[in-house]
């Protein structure tokens, strides 16, 4: 298969970026999208040009590192997969593919398609944890947890922190990301203890870092590679409001 690629190139955070056009040919349909990028990069290196910088690591859809905006969609045209899980058989031979970095004020570009998602770490540092010390805990079976609650907690915990939600949101809101963590812990007795403090602290940090507000468009859910439901945002709102009432 042959493709025309329009790729965002940007030297560093301070420089202006622009699209450049490249051609790749003889791509097997079983090749993954990122392998196609590898092939392009190897060609560029042989031509003495700088390869396109992009984030990737596990290539199994779990580390959350890959983060390409492809033809107008975070993680490309397919639903419920990360960029690394897209295969070229999903594209038409001869198709033009536009590849951009995440576009979000809170995720500044580092180079080409690589952005700085440190803001997500900072939000979690504000309260996305249970304050237990190592070795100061009861037996694992001491507190039974209804299977349904554990399953719902796991649904939310599947978030890979890739940033697609904020990059997709027209307001640049990180609500789905914050909600996934808050909701996952809210469904467990271990997380309940600090529930109110957590919801307030994480929302405040999100606001402080320049993420926008949620207007319930649901775009984040549609683009989330792990299909995290916006129902978790509802739970976050509930947690947040009840915390405010407690004040």
């Amino acid at each position: 298969m042959n493709f025309t690629l329009k790729i965002w190139r940007q030297k560093d955070a301070k420089s202006h970026g622009a699209f450049e056009t490249y051609k790749v040919s003889d791509i097997s349909p079983d090749t993954s999208f990122l392998e196609m990028m590898d092939i392009l990069n190897n060609n560029l290196i042989h031509e003495g040009k700088e390869p396109v910088a992009f984030d990737h690591d596990c290539r199994e859809g779990i580390c959350g590192m890959c983060s390409l905006h492809i033809n107008g969609h975070a993680h490309g045209p397919e639903q419920a997969v990360t960029t690394c899980q897209i295969y070229m058989r999903k594209f038409r031979d001869g198709q033009t593919i536009v590849i951009e970095p995440w576009r979000s004020a809170a995720f500044p570009v580092i180079k080409d398609l690589v952005v700085d998602r440190g803001a997500y770490d900072k939000i979690l540092q504000a309260g996305g944890f249970v304050s237990v010390r190592t070795n100061s805990v009861p037996d694992g079976n001491a507190i039974p947890i209804p299977k349904k609650d554990a399953d719902e907690s796991m649904d939310a915990a599947a978030c890979v922190g890739c940033g697609a939600c904020a990059a997709t949101c027209k307001n640049g809101s990180a609500m789905l990301f914050v909600a996934a963590r808050v909701s996952s812990l809210a469904k467990l007795p271990q997380g309940r203890v600090e529930g109110a403090r957590r919801a307030k602290a994480m929302v405040a940090k999100m606001d402080e870092l320049g993420f926008g507000n949620c207007t319930n468009t649901g775009a984040c859910q549609a683009e989330c590679p792990k299909s995290i439901s916006i129902a978790h945002i509802a739970r976050l709102n509930r947690e947040f409001l009840s915390a405010k009432f407690e004040d």
Binding site: D12, I27, S28, D30, T31, S32, L34, D38, N42, L44, I45, H46, G48, K49, P51, A53, D57, C58, R59, E60, G61, I62, C63, G64, M65, V81, Q85, Y87, R89, I110, K111, D121, L124, Q125, A126, F129, V130, S131, R133, T134, N135, V137, P138, G140, N141, I143, P144, I145, P146, K147, A150, S153, M154, A157, A158, S184, K187, L188, Q190, G191
Partner: protein, 648 residues
Amino acid sequence: MALKLDSKIPAGELAQKWSNHKAAIKVVSPANKRKLDIIVIGTGLGGASAAASLGELGYNVKIFCIQDSPRRAHSIAAQGGINAAKNYQNDNDSVYRLFYDTIKGGDYRAREANVYRLAEVSNLIIDQCVAQGVPFAREYGGLLANRSFGGAQVSRTFYARGQTGQQLLLGAYAALNKEIAAGSVKSYPRHEMLDVVVENGEARGIIARNLVTGEIERHGAHAVVIASGGYGNVFFLSTNAMASNGSAAFQCYRKGAGFANPCFTQIHPTCIPVHGTQQSKLTLMSESLRNDGRIWVPKKKEDVEKLRKGTLKPSDIKEEDRDYYLERRYPAFGNLVPRDVASRAAKERCDAGFGVNETGLAVFLDFKTAIERLGKEVIKQRYGNLFDMYEEITDTNPYEQPMQIFPAVHYTMGGIWVDYNLMTTIPGLYAIGEANFSDHGANRLGASALMQGLADGYFVLPYTIGDYLSHKIQAPKVATDTPAFDEAEKAVKEKIAKLFAIKGKQSVDDIHKRLGHIMWENVGMARTKESLERAITEIQALRKEFWADVKLVGTADSFNVELEKALRLADFLELGELMARDALMREESCGGHFRSEHQTEEGEAKRDDENFVYAAVWEYKGMDNEPELTKEPLNFEFVHPAQRNYKD
């Protein structure tokens, strides 16, 4: 000068060793902990849990990772589960049984005392993770669920769907975040350790490169902990993440730390087969699939031919024409034999001409029987995400046709030599998790890597490091303006400059793929004297080629992935040779190390307990010089090494 290896294994009964040791080692007072600095390299299960626990204790911790966030370390990709000896299933599990299975699974090439301690603390890990809010799978009664894994006849594996590694890592990462927020841990993402600084024979800090700016930095500390994972990517194609590398461990080796059993590599039996030359990595299908999946190839060669031509579907092959070779050869364990055994059995069938895809390098993993027995819904609940992933990659629906699988490089049991305290041969330098060699012998059992990473980080290192640091309470902050730091930084900068100066013709990946090919063909699933000697010669030649012909683009003082890759490949090109040398020296078959010259009549690994009951520890003597071997004898006081039997 040979290495001095003192394993520091405590005396006494097996079950008392760890308690006795904890009682005997020194502790550091809270007031003194505040004065002591620790550097941790890597944020996987080992590094994150260690840094969080050390931060809680009051030490000043700096933690480094090459990813953009600590949450992305490769532990996250572990799917199946984590073992613990809870005996929640009442199936007669115990600490001793977990210990025994692990030491037997490792083919009697690990230390009894270390493995027993691992089994002993395994239960604490589950408690810890539950308290952190890890959403483990549960039964309807609200209690924790378990499943079976290879190499065990009990159900002791705890899991969170097919994402256990992710959930455990998010737990450890949350603990880390708690400490970062408290100010006890400082995080350095997108930073790579390029050297360890040794002064007066002790570890004093590291040289790191800021991967965003290219700046070379100095960081001093009273102790350095290497938790940088394994080196499976020496094979280019493996199940490891693309950036996983052996360089942090290799710098320790270069600075004098012993490197143990480098040839012990785990080839995982259930991975998606290679599809072509453009492939960048191999995808693992969790071992948990072997709970319900049955592995087979056709009995008849004509069926194999038809499958390859596409004129016959696997589901059309009659039951009596299928060879469930694991069930046939190993009735007691069946499809749940350990990984090394399952991988070799697959290779044996494919070598005999029964491989089922165009390349002849694949076998079937079939859920037909399980779907008939349990229904599609149950199978979907248990493995839905894995089935989806398989279909995404291969375009085949595994609910209708069996999966095709083949073994792939997955894990390295070898690593930096450590004593019972997890300290390397360099005082003040520690290695934990996959980066060390200590617990899995010649083969690791499934669901034991997560256990070891967290055991080391939460429950072992935080105690044992205090014994060393108790001698440092009078020591001032480590100064980084010393000759040792000057030299280390200069060497790093020169190495980078040298790489840019080559201006050759081959890209880093071009050469890495060739190294991978040499390794897979000659130092892979079956090794011979000839293949290993050939590998050594070819790797030496390829290394020369690398240093004469590699082509780097971009600059050193900017974000430059090619430079990162080149630095890692430079180390792989030495590590690969070391692995081949170790494999050549070990004239026996054990666990994942299979020397074709040493097998039983039935084709099983044949150990040589007369001559090889030791850990092989290598000391660096220069890039083009032979390393020196020192042996750490393994004393089996409590179990009797026997030929592993998974038949009855």
